[in-house]
Each structure stands twice: as structure tokens, then as C-alpha cells.
Assembly symmetry: C2
Homo-oligomer: 453 residues x 2
Amino acid sequence: MPDTLTFIEQNLGRFRSELYDFLRIPSVSAKSEHDGDTRAAAEWLAEKLASAGLTSEVIDTEGHPVVLGEWRGAGPAAPTVLIYGHYDVQPPEPLELWTSPPFEPTERNGRVYARGSADDKGQLYMHAKALEACLAADGTLPINVIVLAEGEEEVGSPNLVPFVEQNAARLACDVVVISDSNMYAEGMPSVLFSLRGLAYFEIHVKGARGDLHSGQFGGPVVNPGNALAKIIASLHDADGRIAIDGFYDDVVEWDEETREQIRSLPFDIDAYRKELEVDALGGEKGWSTLEKLWIRPTCDVNGILSGYTGEGAKTVLPGRAMAKVSFRLVPNQHPDRVKPLLEAHLGKVTPAGVTVELVELHGGRPWKAKVEQRLMDAASSALEEAYGAPAVLQGEGGSIPIVVDFEEKLKAPALLVGFALPGCNLHAPDEWFSLDSFEKGIGALARLYGRLG
Amino acid sequence: MPDTLTFIEQNLGRFRSELYDFLRIPSVSAKSEHDGDTRAAAEWLAEKLASAGLTSEVIDTEGHPVVLGEWRGAGPAAPTVLIYGHYDVQPPEPLELWTSPPFEPTERNGRVYARGSADDKGQLYMHAKALEACLAADGTLPINVIVLAEGEEEVGSPNLVPFVEQNAARLACDVVVISDSNMYAEGMPSVLFSLRGLAYFEIHVKGARGDLHSGQFGGPVVNPGNALAKIIASLHDADGRIAIDGFYDDVVEWDEETREQIRSLPFDIDAYRKELEVDALGGEKGWSTLEKLWIRPTCDVNGILSGYTGEGAKTVLPGRAMAKVSFRLVPNQHPDRVKPLLEAHLGKVTPAGVTVELVELHGGRPWKAKVEQRLMDAASSALEEAYGAPAVLQGEGGSIPIVVDFEEKLKAPALLVGFALPGCNLHAPDEWFSLDSFEKGIGALARLYGRLG
């Protein structure tokens, strides 16, 4: 281990500089204009895995390619660890809110700012560098390693499950390790006990044949903008609960041990509020903030567009209105159950005079940790050694839909260890990653590989 | 008169071709990038008034200029008629919904399609050509004429009232004639008995410090998109009435004669619905469609924008949401009364965790005709002769805020005679004007000038 840690220390400057090259590639999977960039990111990563000592391939799918790296030098008797991450990123818009350009990594105050720095290129690349360090310093590893990096995580991983199914034998493993989440706080490394799922929709409301003059038609003509507002408002009741019949049917009651675990974490609600620059918090009555974030479902507008939104006062009665609305789900909700429930709700609340169309953009199942205590302990001690502080168990409000699929298809439990920090602006302007975490995390992962052996 | 009508017939091709030149100038007053075009339209018009035989000037204001044309050859004993119109146009967006480009006038099925063809360049230019015909054919007119064309009607005429006040002596007149409205139906020329007013706002909702990840923050953080939907939904009650306390306080009860006048007009609700391509109509319970359009107020979303509205599923919890919301007002509501009522309402319905800012973009007062019967009859007979059908009295759902100001500042009643046809896509893609109306309307206006003498 000492040699590995020394190697990391000595090569840290190069590791960072390589990461910045990775971050410069605008691999925005949601936008077809970036398809070439997304492929370039895959090829770049495959080359780096190869130079770290793994065999590597870029494998085509019907969408963006999968990068597969393998090192099987530990032999068939040793355990096999599959490391999963993604090399695609969220769209960077709105660009004008970035302090430095999203695809020009910029260091400020011990952080690197760039789209993908935290989610997930930074964390994925820490695994690549930890593997390189172990193989370079020791020449070997006590585990077989498969690195599986996809380019479609931000668009719902449409081609990853088929890929895993078709390559199940090659991907067979004992545990899946994923670093695509946050630590609970700076200096408090964490292992996850849950993830929320996702059901993401577009609601399209159609009114008259086209945009109309709001004076000449306003009154008898039902306005799709007003109708959409009414529809969205109907999705919550006065207590902040989701007012869709049957929505909570599959929500599990969490055990008292987990809720006690949540209560035991330090949480300063005033600091949280202030950091967000809001006067008050909201959400579902009767639950704490951490519970609202981790173990309760949500319904959020992600976008709304109708009519004229430019400069000045255009007196138009719009012909259309659209909202992107998504639900974060908790165990044991299933995204496939949400669409019919929402459709039935829309049928009840949509006013006469407009029509509504519901389009499902993507979904992902929530997850509860099933990993055995021995592996949890291995992760905890690796983190504690690297960070000098005990690891905590926490939930995660975001979604990594593929986790449930990995567990089902590969019959191996998932271990989720994340290194981003709260407030790192995931999916938002000025996304950043801590340079200290980049260094300590590589050390923690190198230790983890040793302990999983 | 026969000479004038012959002149119109003989010069109709040129009149059209000149109108198309006028329509080619993208004088979009709301967009500063078109300031040069807006001025070019003013200069073009002034030149055409001069060649029609009027003296003309382009007069600067703090915004877009005013065009003033004058012909005072009838002498001080003759009545003076002020003709008002506007040479600015609404923004043409969304461009992709236009069949032919908005600033390339295109003839199809007896119509010319272009932004401004109906509102108001086409109608304003009919006055210019009727004046030219009278002066060319007879060498004189029985009335003095002032043509006042502004370039800010579509942005609320911020500089016209000061202009009228500063030039009240020069603009002194006996009647103000305005053609910026519709006929009741094809072949049914009309004079207006009312206009609705307008109070136009932007509602800005601010949530957290910026856009957030909907998974990492969804739940406790109040979503400005959801909050805005709740606010907009709260503006109407279940009966389609506006649910703002005090909003109806100043609405006049209309006399039975006017309501009977409205009821007497032919109106095919199924044809109306079908033409709009909607299954049902809505609006305030207890009123007919024409009443909802003419004598009842409205509250319409003109635009909404929040979060991510591009391709794909971005899981963002937006930091901001904005709606353009406007109210059509009826006599005797006043736009200045609406803002404090709406502000008080927002104070009651805005959820904790977001802040709201109300910005008034512009307002205009509603109007009830006060013109004496003699002038009304002059208009009716001029229209009947030109169209071969009796003129009807009708209301108008749109707003021409300056009408009330003219009456107050110039102490002269307004006579509103419009030539656009219902369904002409005012403020919408594929705006059009009937070529038949362009011809007949010029004849009707030439006759009207004669009768006003």
C-alpha cells in the first residue's frame, strides 16, 4: 500500500491534468449535436484505461457507446469487482450563469469547476487512477476488475440494460462498486443505504389551432397556459403531499433503525436554508428535511414553456403549453406504475377546451442497499483511513437507475461510495469537485480494492 | 365621388404594391434590434403621405417616432378629422408556424399574408390611399385632415400621450377616426361600441440561489415552477371568474339595449369552436361567447418560462420561474387599480420558500363609444354603400388604449371603424388581410371623409 500511495502523491499533477482533458470534451448525451463529442470522450477514456494497464474497448450500442476495461490478473479464484460510472454529462445551460465556461476546467478555492467534474467524470476517473496506481506500484491487484462506463446515464441509460443482459457472462462479478454520489459532508465520507428512483414526463397541453390575439379571443377560449398551471397545481395537496390517487401505495415504511440513523446525522437546517438563499423550506408535512430528501417521493417541475417569453408585452393567447414534470420515487415505487396513475389524474383535472398528452421521457427504480456487512465494513475502513474520519451511512435523493438493474442482471450487490460534496451544483451552473477529495478519494479507492480481495 | 372611386379602381395595383413595401419593413417595436426598421417604416410612411398631397413630418419622441400628416385645405370653418393608426407591429415569433415569411407579403386565396397586414399597417394605409384618391380626383376635401401614426402601439404607447398633450393645439379636431379593429364578419361592416382595456404584468418567482439538482434537493426546497403554477391557478375560481378580491368592483352593468344588440348578431358557436379547432369553450359561467369577448374581463397567461425546456430530460429544480399574465378590462375598470389588487392576491397565495416580484409592463383603459348619432350614421352609410350591406354595431375584445386618451386630451369623440376580418390571426402566425376589404375599405373611407364634411 505505501508504494501505491506514494505513486498517487507523485502523479497527482498528471492525474488532474488528465481529468481536465476529460472534462474539456462536451459529452452532452441529451443533445444529438454533441454525439461526436460523446464518442470522443468514450475513446479518450478507453485509451486511458489501456495506459493504466487494463485491456479496454469502446463497444457500440444503439445509442452512445459503452467503454469496457478489464484486468483479470487475480485469477478465477479471486473475487471480481465491477466498477460502474458514466462519461456523459448534463446539458450545461443556462450558460450565462457559469462563472467560467462549463467545458474549460478552472481551479478556484481548492475546487475544479466544470460540467461533469462531480457527475460523474471526476469520480469515474478516480477509479481509473486508483487502478493505475495499484498496478503501477504493486504490479498486481487481489481482485479482478471490470470497468464499465456508459455514455447515456443522463438520458436514462436506454441501452445499458440490454448491454448488461447480452454480456452477463463477461460482466459476472461479486460486487458492483459505483462512485456517482455525494459524501454526507466535507470530511465525512459516506456509504449509501438508498437511492431514489425517477419518473420523468412531459405534459403537453393543446388549446386552439394556434396562437391567438388575447384581446380578440380571450374569455371564451380556454388558455393552455392557464390550464397547465391548474394541472401542475393539482399535483400537490395543501400539506405538500402528492395528490395523485394511489401514488403512495407502494411506498415502504422504513425501519426505525434507518430513521434513527438519519436522525443521528448532524444537520443544521438554518445553514442549509441560508446556503440555498431561501427564507423557508417546504415539502411534505410531517417529515424532516433529510427524510424529505432521501426516503420521501417528490413531484417537481423541471421546465415550463408556453407562449411568448421574450422581451416586452406580447398579447398572445398561446395555442400550446408544455411542462417537464418529474417524480423522485422511493422503495418500492416503480416508474411504470406512475404513468397510468398520472394519466388518470390528468383525465380528472384537465379542463374542457384543451387536450393533454403525456410523454414519458424516462424512469428509474429506487434502490435499497443489500450488500453484506463484510463489504460495507471494507468500504468504511478504506474511507476512514483515507479521510481520517469514520464513514457514515446516508441516503441519496438522486437516482442511479442502473443500480437495481445491475443487482438483478448480475446477481451481485451494489456498493455505493461517493466523493462529491454537498453544494457541488450537480446538473446546475458552476458544477465543481473538490481537489482534496480527488486526491483522498483515489487513495480510498486503492485501499478499497485491497480490502475487497 | 365617381372620380374618386374610379381613381381607386385604376390605382389599386399600385396601392397594393406600396402596401407590400410597407409590410416588408419589420417594424417590431418591442425589440430594440428592430429600432432601425421601425424608424425606416416611419420615414417610408411620411414620404407616402407627402406624395398623397399632405404635408408630413417624422417627429422624434423618447421612443419610436410619430408620423404626422396634415391637409388643412378645407379652411378653419370646416371640421377637422384626426386619423390615428400605428405603423409598428407585434413580434412575428414563433417563425416556424408561418406558412410564408412574416415580412414577405404573400397573396393566397384573396388575402395578403404578412405581419402587420391587418394590425395595423394595412388599415392605416387604406386611409392614406383614400386621402390620396380624394385629393387626386377632386383636388380637395370637405374636411381638414390630420394623420397621426405612432410606432409604439404594440408596446403600450408610452410616448403618445405626452406627444398629444404637448401638441394639443395642433391636433385639435372634431372627431378621431381609427381603423385598427375587425368587421363583425365578412360582408358585415361594423362600427364599435366598446373596447376592452389591458393590464399586463410579469410575475417573477425566485426560489433558491440557482438551478439545483432535482434529486439532491427535491423535497424540502420549494420549486418556483410549481409555486408559479399554484399562483396562476389561484387567479380563477371554479366558475371561471377572476378570484382576485375587488377585481369586479368597477365593472359596469351594461344597458339592456347593448346586450340586446349583442344577442341580435348572428353567431354560430359550433362554427366558432370548429374554426378554433377546440372541443369546447370555457370562460366565465353565465355569459354568452360574445359577452365574454366584449363586455367581460379576462385573465390570460401570455407566456410562461421556467427551468429547462430543450430536448430531453434534464433533472433540474429551477431557481426561477416567470409568467406574463394580462387582464383584459371592461368599462369602468382602470389598469392602475389592478396592480395593487393583484399584489395583495400574490401576498396571500405565494407559498413560503419563494419570493415573488410583480412587474407591470403596460396598461390601457377600456372604452365606451360617446360619438354622436350624426357621425355614427355617416359612418354607417359610408360602409353600407361600399360593402352593399348594412353596418352593425359591435364590441371589440382587444384594446386600443390611446382611444380614451384622445377623447380626454383632445375633447373629441372617437369613431372606430375596422376592416380586418375575424380569424385574421392578429398577433399570431399567418396574419392576413382581405384584398377585397382593402379595396372596399378605401372606398368606404373616401365616402366617410365626404360625409364628415
